[in-house]
């Protein structure tokens, strides 16, 4: 995050030195894009917060921990696809799962779908690229995530 802040400051400064007008146009364009997506984003985040509150950590641990193999991977793929979790929560959550005895291939599927597949962010994604592209990307990522899990199972 600090890196992002430093990069942004440097980029703005360099851009400003070269061309003030263009810098302002660029920043304004960025702010406009941000405000354009903000209402949808707020709605998605409230929905995700409600969903997360309904399925606390202990429930996720129970769902993934009790089962192993194919059923565990399937459960991880589905939960990971639906859930939206902040990045700084995802890895600690994975650590909790690991400590509770969830196998690594199931955790790999969970993390990968969490990162790459977003059912709940589909409305936002479709705004940028259209439904067709959004559905293909999510579908293929889902398959890819399961492949990652199966390969992890083979290697570990």
């Amino acid at each position: 995050m600090k890196t992002l802040l430093i990069c942004t400051i440097i980029a703005v400064l360099v851009s400003f030195i070269f061309d003030r007008k263009r810098t302002l146009t660029g920043i304004l364009k960025g702010i406009k894009m941000f405000l354009g997506i903000l209402p949808d984003l707020l709605l998605v985040l409230t929905g995700a917060a409600v969903l997360l509150a309904l399925t606390p950590e202990s429930v996720i641990v129970r769902l993934l921990g009790r089962e192993s193999g194919a059923a565990g991977i399937a459960a991880a793929a589905v939960i990971g696809s639906v859930a939206l979790v902040p990045g700084f929560i995802a890895f600690p959550l994975a650590a909790v799962l690991h400590r509770s005895g969830v196998s690594l291939d199931v955790i790999a599927v969970f993390i990968t779908t969490l990162m790459m597949v977003g059912i709940i962010t589909l409305p936002i994604e479709s705004k940028y690229f259209g439904w067709r592209v959004a559905l293909y990307r999510n579908g293929l990522s889902f398959v890819g995530a399961i492949a990652v899990g199966l390969l992890m199972g083979l290697f570990l």
Partner: protein, 121 residues
Amino acid sequence: MPLKNVVKYSIATVFVSGMLLSFPLGFESGIATGRHFRDFVQEMAAFLPLMFILIGLLDAWLPRSVIEKHVGGGSGFWGSVWVILLAMLQAGPLYGAFPVAQILWKKGAVFGTFSSIWEHL
């Protein structure tokens, strides 16, 4: 502001008020929802404003020809390598990647080369 956005903001406001009210009322599910929402807003506030400034600058400076040459049609294998390497630098939430991808797309990148790869941390 378009009516659609007014409606969206209103719904979000109702939900957030409900979360805030849950704290003094001691409504457990509402409090849990509020805590998750706070985490989300924290992550969003940390990444998105900066990212959108960078995206705006990218849009203003990056010439179409550069994108087309490196990750456009016919860039093939090396186009994919480029995008994977760049995408690994990206941090932040999934929804932060969409606008970046869209800018690249509009400037002539091939969708397949960056679509699903971006989201890795």
